[in-house]
């Protein structure tokens, strides 16, 4: 299958699509779906496109492609082994065109999600078939994704941004989403997530992108998450006024509840957060998350539910959600940010990093070297490893040790951790989701 030569493949404008949906009061919902089999991949995208909701499609790439081990893909395909995602680099462009043709268009945008510190092959493979939206970043696709030095990831991502930006033409606006709001998925205090997300967006802009999204992943406390989303918007307005940007929330990215009901409650809580935080797009997780790669049906169920909850959330705008709102002790989390602790810390981190160099990429390398950005529990050789976090009595993520970061730790909470204590911290959200009462009965508040 192939498009005629005089017709360049679809490029689209991911950011504009999301903006349009938002203006209509709709939340764009998007899966993290990916299959090794092209036929299944197409079927999945078609199923997502058909849903009666504002959806974006996803092609999630497999782990071999992420580490550039194309020989392993050949072996797996030859042995009939199942990959954990779509091997876009190894498949002929015509095969991928066969996956997207007739689906990708102005009303159905497709984003490629991966996790590679060396993404050039991937960016070239996607752009050949007219896919111009992806995600990542020089830190967030390096620290959690392998052992490549940060310095090299920064170089690779610079080139990737430049090549993506060069694809811009009428009707085609390349889009890049930061993964900085996720990092290792759990136990990272929100201020660092917000700071890295903003810094990566600055890096994208500096290297030519005009359309970006800033990610943030749901954490342990609803109120703190609202502060983080407000902080992200404030900082984006301050630093990114000359590009198209929106905020994308991820449903919890850490250890997920093992039960269907727990998974649904956590997902509903994230929709609630999206609604209250004014988020434009949500990446959803499915009830299969704790167990296996989700099927098409797992994904469409999750997307449908998210869209329904969002409609409902509009009618109960201030309700706390099925897992409760956490504390409300510091009242105003509004945009002025006067008592937004996440914003204060994120500002301090961003300013400290930007002072290191006029070049954002170099500043990021220096910041990692000096431990000004230091991700708790991160094993990457370039991470200083002098910071630690804990979940405080109110359920908020806080620093027990800050290393060289300009944030204030609570050293009273800095004690060695046993395996059982670590597992308890990792399980905090899953345990709370399992224990919470269903939203539809006990905690529903008339609005």
């Amino acid at each position: 299958m192939s498009t005629p030569n005089d017709m360049p493949p679809f490029g689209g404008d991911f950011g504009a699509f999301v903006r349009r949906a938002h203006a209509q009061g709709r939340l764009v919902v998007q899966p993290r779906m990916g299959f090794g089999d092209p036929a299944l991949m197409r079927e999945g995208l078609a199923a997502v496109a058909r849903l009666p909701a504002a959806t974006a499609g996803t092609i999630t790439l497999d782990s071999y492609t992420r580490v550039g081990d194309y020989r392993a893909i050949e072996a797996a395909l030859a042995n009939g082994e199942r990959l954990n995602g779509y091997p876009i680099v190894s498949l002929h462009p015509d095969v991928t065109l066969g996956v997207t043709l007739g689906l990708a268009g102005p009303d159905f945008q497709i984003q490629v999600r991966h996790g590679s510190p060396d993404p050039l092959d991937i960016v070239r493979a996607m752009s050949r078939v007219g896919l111009y939206a992806t995600e990542g970043g020089p830190l967030s696709y390096c620290l959690p994704y392998g052992r490549l030095p940060v310095r090299r990831a920064v170089d690779n991502w610079r080139r990737c941004c430049e090549e993506l930006a060069a694809l811009r033409r009428p009707g085609a606006e390349p889009h890049l989403e930061t993964f900085g709001g996720c990092l290792l998925g759990q136990l990272c205090p929100p201020s660092l997530l917000v700071a890295v997300s903003v810094l990566e967006a600055l890096f994208f802009r500096r290297h030519g992108l005009r359309s970006v999204s800033l990610s943030y992943a749901q954490q342990t406390n609803h109120q703190q998450d609202l502060q983080a989303l407000a902080a992200l918007r404030t900082l984006a307005r301050r630093h990114l006024s000359d590009v198209d940007w929106h905020v994308v929330l991820y449903t919890y990215m850490g250890l997920f509840p093992a039960t269907r009901s727990g998974a649904m409650r956590l997902a509903e809580q994230s929709v609630r957060l999206a609604a209250q935080g004014g988020v434009e797009r949500l990446i959803v997780k499915t009830a299969a998350e704790a167990h296996r790669i989700p099927t098409i049906a797992d994904n469409t169920q999750a997307l449908r539910a998210a869209a329904d909850w969002f409609d409902e959330a509009g009618r109960f705008a201030d309700g706390p959600g099925p897992m409760g709102g956490g504390d409300h002790s510091d009242g105003d989390d509004g945009d002025d940010g006067s008592d937004n602790e996440v914003l204060h810390e994120a500002c301090a981190l961003i300013e400290a990093v930007l002072e290191l160099s006029d070049d954002v990429g170099r500043a990021l390398v220096e910041a990692m070297r000096g431990g000004l950005l230091d991700v708790p529990y991160c094993l990457h050789p370039d991470n200083a490893g002098n910071s630690r976090s804990f979940i405080d009595a109110r359920g908020r993520l806080a620093w027990s040790r800050a290393g060289a970061m300009p944030v204030r730790p609570q050293p009273d909470h800095d004690s060695p951790m046993s395996s059982a204590q670590l597992l308890a911290a990792l399980s905090y959200v899953a345990d709370r989701s399992a224990a919470a009462s269903p939203y539809s009965t006990a905690s529903r508040r008339e609005g």
Partner: protein, 167 residues
């Protein structure tokens, strides 16, 4: 870290690692603590470890136990390739190697068949999606006992040990 093998070691040593395609690390951070609490000195190689790097570190540390953890769904394929290479290496041919985690992409479906294949390829034990760690702890304790008896080492079981996340 122990780099000099002539120095009398007090604890048995475990080499902990992921496979070449897997970038997950919380499993490794957790298992490092578990192994330390079980009385091992642990070398945690981290995520995305190419086969050669693992073998190189195996030759260097001569561990008493090699623990492979993978959760990304490629563990069975990566593990099969890796264990064949470990078994072919003269220095490591006799070292017990175990693997665990989420080894396929479809939950526990196919786990029995995967275990059979991984055992016949050379793993000493397979612990798929082991939320209950007791079989693994029993295995690790067995290796610990055998090593301590054979070398006359006195394990410092009475010192409370907490591993730290290494750089």
């Amino acid at each position: 870290m122990i780099t000099d093998n002539s120095y009398p070691r007090r604890n048995p040593t475990a080499l902990l690692s992921s496979v070449s395609s897997d970038s997950h690390t919380w499993n490794l951070v957790y298992l490092e603590l578990v192994l330390a609490e079980a009385g091992y000195d642990v070398h945690n190689l981290g995520p995305c470890v190419p086969d050669e790097l693992l073998i190189e570190n195996g030759r260097r540390y001569r561990p008493d136990l090699i623990v492979i953890s993978s959760v990304n769904g490629h563990g069975a394929s990566d593990g099969t390739r890796l264990i064949q290479r470990i078994r072919a290496d003269a220095a490591l041919a006799g070292t017990p190697v175990v693997i665990g985690g989420k080894l396929g992409t479809d939950g526990t479906a196919g786990a029995v068949e995967r275990e059979r294949l991984l055992l016949s390829a050379g793993f000493a034990a397979v612990f798929e999606d082991a939320t209950d760690l007791s079989p693994f702890l029993a295995f690790a304790a067995g290796v610990h006992r055998a090593v301590s008896t054979a070398t006359g080492r006195i394990p410092d079981e009475h010192t409370e040990r907490y591993a730290t996340v290494r750089r």
